[in-house]
């Protein structure tokens, strides 16, 4: 190869590398075709992780000595609506958790009825998408019990969780926090509707009176202030269509990594 050709090859390589410089990457992040590729990688990651984890493997559980002295509360710390304040004032006696959608027998349970069902207690690690972790003890009703009682229809694929915390400033159309999980993760033995944390009634900052714990998932997949569990075939026509509040803002629907 002539020296001249080699040099121009090097120049072309450097120019190609230049298009991947900082500005280029930021522009790519806003191109639909590129984010579509990143989105299909998310599907690959989810399938690969499911291949290894299967439906039944348990998240590590810890001992009481590992419980964090201070468990960080993140996201909404108090829904702050008059409706929620009224629930706090009367000790959540009128709070109901409903199971609706593609089920044979829709359910509506008070907190007392939920507490009367068999419970699971687990000391687990909460992993936030930001990178930090806290260990806490949770007690609640396995979601699998509720779903078994409601009898999902064959078409049901996802459980969508609707919450009482509004996510927009005053004056905007009302958007409340919502999330979704595949049915397989919803019936995982460690997926519970938790009403106790570290042996105490669930505090407001952590989602009183009841929140979801799905221990193989990141924190944003475990909504607080839970009111309704809706079984659906797909979630593309719900809110922003991406299956959750943070998903509608660009976070991945798969929250196992």
């Amino acid at each position: 190869m002539a020296e001249q050709t080699r040099r121009s090859f090097a120049a072309r390589t450097l120019a190609a590398a230049g298009t991947l410089s900082l500005g280029g990457c930021y522009d790519l992040s806003q191109k639909k075709w590129f984010t579509d590729i990143l989105g299909s990688v998310e599907v690959l990651t989810r399938r690969a992780q499911h291949l290894f984890a299967g439906p039944h493997t348990l998240a590590p559980e810890y001992s009481k000595a590992d419980i964090a002295p201070v468990f960080r509360a993140n996201g909404t710390l108090d829904p702050g609506t008059p409706d929620y304040a009224a629930h706090v004032a009367n000790g959540f006696r009128d709070w109901r958790v409903t199971v609706t959608g593609l089920v044979e027998k829709p359910l509506s349970l008070s907190m007392a009825e939920l507490r009367a069902l068999p419970s699971r207690t687990q000391i687990t690690r909460h992993d936030c998408v930001e990178g930090w972790s806290c260990i806490g003890e949770w007690k609640g009703t396995p979601l699998a019990l509720l779903l078994a009682a409601a009898v999902p229809k064959p078409a049901a694929r996802y459980a969508v969780f609707y919450c009482a915390d509004p996510m927009t400033a005053e004056g905007d159309p009302e958007h409340y926090y919502y999330e979704s999980l595949p049915l397989s993760e919803a019936v995982h033995p460690q997926t519970i509707l938790a009403y106790e944390m570290n042996g105490q009634t669930l505090p407001v900052a952590h989602g009183a009176p009841v929140r979801l714990r799905a221990e193989r998932q990141l924190g944003y997949k475990q909504p607080k202030y839970l009111q309704r569990i809706d079984l659906v075939e797909d979630f593309s026509r719900i809110e922003g269509g991406k299956g959750g509040y943070w998903e509608d803002l660009g976070y991945t629907w798969y929250g196992g990594i």
Binding site: M1, R6, F9, A10, T13, L20, L22, C25, Y26, S29, T35, I37, L38, G39, V41, E42, L44, T45, Q49, H50, F52, A53, G54, T57, L58, A59, P60, Y62, D66, A68, V70, R72, R125, D127, C128, V129, E130, G131, W132, S133, C134, I135, E215, R216, Q217, L218, W246, L249, G250, Y251, T252, G256, I257
Partner: protein, 298 residues
């Protein structure tokens, strides 16, 4: 007749020209080309370079979402082992601090607080070091997890090739002579004397050590500590957080690995430049490395 006699009659070279030629790695005398890197190694090298750049920068973007490191399974927010913080001053300016344990340093402009589009911001690493530049955790994660696949698949192919072709055994396994020569090699490198001519056909002891520790140590470690941060992978392989002493320790090791890669990269670039940039770069692009013939051996 020596080879030098066949050179064009030219005036004695100026020291500057001589230095420039030396830097380019083109032997002044007659030379021949030696096929140093196979196409597989070359392709894997450049793909890896791209992946590592994207992984480091998107990793820093993710780190910025919570710029603090801990040991153990949970985060002891009061006692991070390293953290980057910002403080708003009365006059509206922002001061950035880097904390290592109880010690702190003012790192305004780079760590803790820096300018993003001219605006002072509380941000761990500056926007020129992160991908994407503006604070955007969701997009940083997407880049990181997409290129992690390319990095790992490229690494697995390279491993398969290295074992199958004999590249690892032939080129990276230190010989008894390499180990015996190690003190001499270190002294030579410290004086910036690098092997030339026939000796440059093989990796020396320091090169073997550096490449082997990155390929067999740092590479697998950064992947495993990365996987340990995934709650689903911890359910699949509970041994992962156990091996590394907890998810937060794994995250800290992952961070140290990232900067070890950066340190390797800086030393690697320095060595490439000091031992003849163009000759080295050409050999990693085309495969061919120029080796000067010693006078009298032509």
């Amino acid at each position: 007749m020596t080879d030098h006699a066949t050179d064009l009659p030219s005036p004695p070279a100026l020291p500057a020209k001589e230095l420039a030629l030396k830097a380019l790695g083109v032997p002044r005398g007659p030379h021949y080309f030696f096929y140093r890197h196979s196409a597989w190694v070359r392709a894997a090298h450049w793909l890896n370079a791209l992946c590592l750049a994207v992984m480091l920068m998107s990793g820093l973007a993710i780190f910025n979402a919570h710029p603090a490191l801990y040991l153990g399974n949970g985060s002891d927010f009061e006692h991070p082992i390293l953290s980057l913080t910002a403080q708003q001053n009365n006059d509206g300016s922002v001061t950035g601090y880097t904390w290592i344990g109880e010690h702190f340093f003012n790192t305004t402009g780079i760590l803790g607080a820096s300018r993003e589009d001219g605006q002072w911001m509380a941000r761990g690493f500056p926007s020129w070091a992160t991908l994407p530049g503006p604070q955007w955790l969701a997009m940083g994660r997407q880049w990181h997890f997409a290129f992690a696949w390319i990095l790992v698949l490229n690494g697995l192919l390279f491993f398969a090739y290295g074992l199958w072709s004999g590249h690892f055994r032939r080129d990276l396994t230190p010989t008894r002579k390499d180990i015996a020569d190690l003190p001499h090699e270190i002294a030579q490198h410290a004086r910036l004397h690098f092997p030339h001519g026939e000796a440059a056909r093989h990796y020396n002891a320091l090169q073997k050590l550096a490449y082997a520790s990155v390929i067999f140590g740092l590479g697998p470690l950064v992947v495993l500590t990365g996987l340990t941060m995934s709650p689903t992978m911890d359910a699949a392989f509970p041994i992962l957080p156990w091996i590394f002493g907890g998810r937060q320790t794994a995250r800290t090791i992952h961070f140290v690995c990232a900067f070890s890669f950066l340190a390797f990269f800086l030393v690697h670039i320095a060595m490439v430049v000091l031992s003849g940039s163009w000759n080295n770069i050409r050999s990693m692009i085309t495969g061919w490395y120029a080796i000067g013939k010693e006078p009298g051996h032509g």
